[in-house]
Point group: C3
Chain length 140, copies 3
């Protein structure tokens, strides 16, 4: 088969500093638009204070993620981080390393090749501003 490629950006602006958004339906729409039936799909944050990751769509778990990430990389006091001279988002850069920048997803028979509970999330750690997620698909 001969290689095809498709690219699209998703746009987000959260009301809160931190939030988790299920972007699975958006990524699936991009895949179907692409017409690609078999290959690999990269989904990555185009920013360095947010994440794309795969986990469970369950509100209690998202609350646990929030509490846990605040324990591992607390937002405050801002003065604890050297990055926070003109910024206040050092914690967001750290949180994003734990949750990851990107996921790579197999495409099979024109669908996201997922286990039962896999859902794709945009994880925002420095929100209330315009952010972008890149979807890039290569295959046939």
């Amino acid at each position: 088969m001969s290689m095809k490629s498709y690219r699209q950006e998703l746009h987000f602006r959260t009301d809160k500093r931190r939030d988790f958004i299920n972007i699975t339906p958006l990524v699936r729409n991009v895949l179907h638009e692409s017409g690609i039936k078999d290959g690999l799909c990269l989904v990555n944050s185009m920013h360095i204070t947010s994440s794309v990751f795969i986990n469970d769509d369950e509100k209690g778990l998202h609350s646990d993620f929030e509490t846990w990430l605040e324990k591992l990389a607390p937002e405050k006091p801002y003065s604890q981080y050297r990055h926070n001279g003109f910024e206040d988002n050092a914690d967001a850069h750290l949180k994003r390393q734990i949750m990851g920048r990107e996921v790579v997803i197999a495409i099979t028979n024109g669908e996201l090749d997922f286990g039962t509970w896999e859902q794709i999330f945009y994880g925002e750690f420095d929100g209330m501003r315009d952010k972008r997620v890149l979807v890039k698909i290569i295959g046939e």
Copy 2:
């Protein structure tokens, strides 16, 4: 060259809640079956309470991983996590974020293009049930 694709699932059921399994020989077998000589190989957990990662095949280190992950995201008390209303595996969802969902491996000359010590592991954090790992290879 023209693009080829190959897909196979690996199946696991651990005896313990948490375990690390070296799956490098299994992934290598899938690669050789595929006949693909050059490209990219995605290996990902199809579950959200387990990981695929690359590190050292050394028993002391695996014991260190277990101790460390329990310190960063303790299993108990179960009641510390809001996800644990009907579940008891919130810690497994957190541990999986640290260890990662997937690896992408270069394929060169029909082999996994690895450094000397790189080995692929399935990291189980909520075991004693049937689990699947996806191997998807694209290339030529």
Copy 3:
């Protein structure tokens, strides 16, 4: 289009045990040499005590990463880790899991398809020896 592939290794030897090196210009050079205009680029450490990751090129933040990783996975006392029988680098294996082994980058119009602030780093956690990073590009 028909698939092309390109492979190159980057070589590093840091003066310190831990260091962060911006490798974006090196990866961009490899991409331009490849002639590939559209596809995916994998950049991974070939070692298990170092990372490749994408974040901000800001010295204060790198200092925060150092402090934070030492808190989450301290180097000393060496005796706290079972891996450290003949080694002293167990902490480096743990730090690498938080920061990640690899990144996958979209290639569009012959360039790294990046957001404004995305920069690629080699993160060394057990330095003062020869290390390698693999760049593998597939596409058209």
